[in-house]
Each structure stands twice: as structure tokens, then as C-alpha cells.
């Protein structure tokens, strides 16, 4: 019995809430993505460190895999190792940007 009886009340309640909010100037609009403050990502130093380590490891791993596949040891391993380190730094940089809530200006060029 609860389901059918309650439904219209909910609608009424929603309408009243909206009216009250509008009167108080609290109308809730959908926030623009990225414009408002993004929720900050917890844990500071360690999280960035993981990003750096994952870069080096991931790059080395992908390079090693490519070498095994193409029989070109150690060319890809060496190249990917350094590219991975660079990618890790890029990720860490973006992570810090997100932490400090600075919007990314990647598309504007530097």
C-alpha cells in the first residue's frame, strides 16, 4: 500500500522543494563539467610517486613485450623505458594540476 499512496506525495514534495529553492535563490543548475572545483584527489606525495613509478615500469614492460614479439632486443626496451619515464612525469604533472584544481590548458598550446 505504501508504493501507490506515496507516489503523488513525492511529486508534490518535489514541486514544493523546487518552489522553496527558487524563492530562496538556491536553484540548482547542473554544474559545468570541469568549470567548478573538481573533487580533490586524496593522498598527496605517495600518489604522485606511484604515477612516476608506473610510468617507468609500464614503459619498460611494453618495450620488453615489443622486443620479445619483434625480436629486436634491446631497442624497444631502451626507447620505451625513457618514453615511459617521460609519460610518467606527464601523468604526475597532470595529477598535481588536478590536485590543485588548475584547469588544464592543453589545447591552447604552450
Amino acid at each position: 500500500m505504501a508504493g501507490e499512496d506515496e507516489a503523488p506525495k513525492f511529486k508534490d514534495f518535489d514541486a514544493r522543494m523546487r518552489r522553496l529553492r527558487d524563492e530562496a535563490g538556491l536553484s540548482r543548475d547542473e554544474p559545468e563539467p570541469g568549470a567548478g572545483s573538481r573533487p580533490s584527489i586524496g593522498g598527496t606525495g605517495v600518489q604522485v610517486g606511484i604515477e612516476l613509478v608506473a610510468g617507468v615500469f609500464g614503459g619498460a614492460l611494453i618495450g620488453y613485450g615489443l622486443d620479445r614479439w619483434l625480436d629486436t632486443w634491446p631497442i624497444f626496451f631502451l626507447v620505451m623505458f625513457f618514453l615511459g619515464a617521460a609519460a610518467g612525469m606527464l601523468n604526475a604533472y597532470r595529477h598535481i594540476r588536478r590536485l590543485s584544481n588548475v584547469p588544464e590548458e592543453r589545447s591552447k598550446g604552450r
Binding site: A2, G3, E6, K9, F10, F13, E30, P31, E32, P33, G34, G36, S37, R38, P39, I41, G42, G43, Q47, I50, E51, V53, A54, G55, F57, G58, G59, I62, M80, L83, G84, A86, A87, G88, L90, N91, R98, E104, R106, S107, K108, G109, R110
Partner: protein, 248 residues
């Protein structure tokens, strides 16, 4: 070995409960699977019981459910925007599964499946693959402009594009390692300090109070980390979704 039984790493051991082998594959039902099933059942019970008698003034279960719903809905709204509503079921499931895994792991004697790299890695690789497919479906070939930062000179492209591609490929690694490392390190720390209580208590009662106090504090910290890491994993998923949908 007698010492191995009391190692702080013993808690991470996978023990088969129901051994199943199909061909060369070991598909045993392990303690890890058991706790995954328990957490799925608990989440299902929470959602079903919480929404069964929807009332104006919510009861405890309904309030808990509404709280979790609004938490994820707000997170999706503020990170992804309106387009993110579609992916709510996925993100909600992901968050609840990780959160329950982390929290159930805090029960003494239980098993923390989020402290295994393979579990977190499969979740991370699934997220990144799904996000990539969403991006390609939404933007077609244009999605690959994601890897070429616009506005930079053409002669640095051969260097920049591989770095961007690699930084994208590394995402599942850093995403999974972050959750796994936090859970594993925390649980080892708890076990180690709890072991000091026994080691010191054997001599005098008084010095054992210090590690006991520390263990109590660490338990609180671990509970906070359980929430935080589930939140971080979900927020990063939302950020990746946002990147794939809006392409900067």
C-alpha cells in the same frame, strides 16, 4: 616452516575452498571469490532492502542507500557533466564493489580482495578499455586527436605523440597499483604492529600497550583509507570518462 605461518603476508594467501579444474585452467572457488560473492550479496541486499519501502522520512538503510546514490551522482555530475548520467550504473557498481571489498577486509580474519594486483588490474583495464570504446564510438577517428596536442609545432609531434600514447597506456597500471599498494601496505602494517603486541606482551604487560594503542589508531586510519581509495579509483574513472567524452 613455522615462521611462515605467522608472517604478516599470510593474510594475502589464496586458499582454494572448492577446487575446480577445467582442462589446464584452475577455476577453483577461493577465499578471494568467497569474499567477492559476500560483498556482491551485501551490496544487492543494501540496494534491494533500502529501496523496498521508500518512505518520505528514510529509515537507516534507505538513508544509507540515498547517501551513496547522491555521492556518486554528484561526483558524476561535477566531473563528467550531464553526459555522465548514462554511466551511473557502472560507476556506482564499481564504487560499491571496491568500497565493500576494502571495508570487509577490515574484519579480522577476512580476506581483502582489493589487495591483489590482479583484481585491481582487471578492474582498471576494464575501465580504460570501456572508456576508450566509449570515446571511439562517440567521436570516431577523431578520438585519436586526443593523442596529438593541438597548437604545438609539427616537428615535436614524433616525440610528443608516443609520450601521450604511453601516458594513456600507463593509466590502468597507475590506477590499479594505487589501490593495490594502499590496501596491501595498510594491511601489512596492521598485522606487523598487532604482532608486536604479542611479542612484547610475552615479557611484560606494560610495553605492549604502546603497539596496542597504535593498532587502534591504525585501524581508524585504514577505515579512512578504505573509503578514500574507493573514492579515488572512482573519481579517476570519472575523469577518464570526461576526457573521452569531451576530448579536452
Amino acid at each position: 616452516m613455522a615462521t611462515a605461518e605467522h608472517s604478516p603476508l599470510e593474510q594475502f594467501e589464496i586458499q582454494p575452498i572448492l577446487p575446480i579444474t577445467v582442462g589446464d585452467l584452475n577455476l577453483s572457488f577461493t577465499n578471494s571469490s568467497l569474499w567477492m560473492v559476500i560483498s556482491v550479496l551485501l551490496i544487492y541486499a543494501l540496494v534491494m532492502l533500502g529501496s523496498r519501502h521508500a518512505s518520505m522520512v528514510p529509515g537507516r538503510l534507505q538513508a544509507l542507500l540515498e547517501l551513496s546514490y547522491e555521492f556518486i551522482a554528484d561526483m558524476l555530475g561535477s566531473t563528467v557533466g550531464k553526459d555522465g548520467r548514462k554511466y551511473f550504473p557502472f560507476v556506482f557498481t564499481l564504487f560499491m564493489f571496491i568500497l565493500f571489498g576494502n571495508l570487509l577486509g577490515m574484519i579480522p580474519g577476512s580476506f581483502t580482495y582489493t589487495s591483489h594486483i590482479i583484481v585491481t588490474f582487471s578492474m582498471a583495464i576494464f575501465v580504460v578499455t570501456a572508456v576508450t570504446i566509449i570515446g571511439i564510438v562517440r567521436h570516431g577517428w577523431h578520438f585519436f586527436s586526443f593523442f596529438a596536442p593541438s597548437g604545438c609545432p609539427i616537428y615535436v609531434m614524433p616525440l610528443l605523440v608516443p609520450i601521450e600514447v604511453l601516458s594513456y597506456l600507463i593509466r590502468p597500471i597507475s590506477l590499479s597499483v594505487r589501490l593495490f599498494v594502499n590496501m596491501m601496505a595498510g594491511h601489512i602494517m596492521l598485522k606487523t604492529f598487532a604482532g608486536f603486541i604479542v611479542a612484547l606482551g610475552g615479557y611484560y604487560l606494560v610495553p605492549a600497550v604502546a603497539p596496542l594503542a597504535l593498532t587502534v589508531g591504525l585501524t581508524g586510519l585504514e577505515l579512512a583509507i578504505a573509503f578514500l581509495q574507493a573514492y579515488v579509483f572512482t573519481v579517476l574513472t570519472c575523469i577518464y570518462l570526461h576526457d573521452a567524452i569531451h576530448l579536452h
